[in-house]
Amino acid sequence: MSNSARQVVVTGLGAVTPLGEDVSSTWAALLAGKSGVCTLSDSWADELPVRIAAPVRSDPAALIPSHQLRRMDRSEQLALIAARQAWQDAGAPEVEPHRLGVSIATTGLGGLGVALDAYDILRTKGWRRLSPFTLPMFMPNGAAAWIGIEFGARAGVHTPASACASGAEAIGYGMHMIRSGRADVVIVGGAEAAIHPLTFAMFAVMRAVSCRNDDPERASRPFDKARDGFVLGEGAGMMVLESAEHAARRGADVLAVAAGVGYSADAYDVAKTAPDGAGSVMAIQQALADADITPEHVVHINAHATSTLVGDAAEAMAISQAIGTAVSGIAVSATKSMTGHLLGGAGAIEAVATICALRDSVAPPTINLEDPDDEIIATGINIAAEPRELRSGPWPAVALSNSYGFGGHNVTLAFMTV
């Protein structure tokens, strides 16, 4: 898409993560290489092979009144808090309700815990004892709906579902809403709060999670030889997207241009990443084409890199293939090494981190990269194990954020300096 059409810009960011209660604390912790992973104290964890996760430490009850809190699933609570931050960061834009949209995913797993708790109540106390808000808490579009109500968004409220690519897909959908002229401002992002025994068990039985229980902070180690699966995290990342005209008209600070989005599907396996990475290559190339930019402009990539054996290697190969010789000049970071994997929230908080990286011209570190996988190094990708200043020179500079999900979904977002 050429830049003369309706350009989309980012004017506000919000985040509630295992590393901090807002964007600035999260970004500072990312740059400092802090891990949000800890050992769970819940007794149910003793029965499972994995007992580590990256929970959000701040309490939503401090920010949402109790009567509203009890009607919301935790993922909805975190989403609402992050959306409020993003809205304030954007300067609480004045926009006609019919020109304001929402595109938010909580669709890694949504309100799974609510449904299971409700089933326990149903069996032990009967149907009349269920909260009448059980269904809205359970439905995957709940977070988007609550946020749409809070901000009075009438242009459309949407919830894409593509497992762990959902957060990125939600941002892409928001970009389309503005480009197509349906909306001037769209609140976009993703959230997940799925630290629950069943989630752990489901991922454990797939052998997808790290079982490094005795060393939680070193468990999430993307691209490292000793990686053994991902670590579950929770939280929310949100942003305010706006048409460039609308942002200029109200004199808003523009943080980045949401320049492009690329999608593809592996059509290979319902869970396993296609080892040739062809789907990821296509998503990256389409994002660049959509942004009308060449690979030489790319200075940073926030990789999906969850710390699984096949996934990390396939992504490294895909980045290398899609970018070509320019790959050596790109600082690749895997922030899941610190936040864990936020499932439906992952693409969103990583997009927030990508924009912060572009703004401050620094790539966050990939912690626990002690012994890089030879096969990954051989692809030629350049992983930032420590914080690294981004290459200066190309203008505009572009940063990509990759997100992939069970089902074979691939999404790449491209952000560009203003």
Binding site: P65, S66, H67, Q68, R70, K125, G126, R128, R129, S131, P132, F133
Partner: protein
């Protein structure tokens, strides 16, 4: 335990505040539940469950059509409690409001 009409009213106002976020001070005897207090139908379900546990009574759906004001609720609860016919479901009476 015997509760006076005033005690029932105060407890009900407290439940309304906790469950629906409506300041207890706005809950008057004459207030119409839907028109004055703007309590939604789902919120009313939450209030009824909490009230059933608190007052150890059952408030069946059929009874609801006659209960329009706060006083209607208070009188209904008092009448059922006085009649001694407790139709309550088993379970921890005080847990519902606190735990949910």
């Amino acid at each position: 335990m015997v509760m006076t009409e005033h005690e029932i009213f105060s407890c009900l106002a407290e439940i309304v505040e906790q469950v629906a976020g409506i300041a207890a001070g706005r809950v008057t005897h004459e207030a119409d539940i839907t028109d004055d207090l703007d309590i939604s139908s789902l919120s009313l379900v939450e209030i009824i469950v909490a009230a059933e546990d608190k007052f150890d009574v059952e408030i069946p759906d059929e009874a609801l059509k006659d209960l329009r004001t706060v006083q209607d609720f208070v009188s209904y609860v008092q009448r059922v409690r006085r009649s001694g016919v407790s139709l309550s479901v088993p379970g921890d009476a005080d847990a519902a409001v606190a735990a949910t």
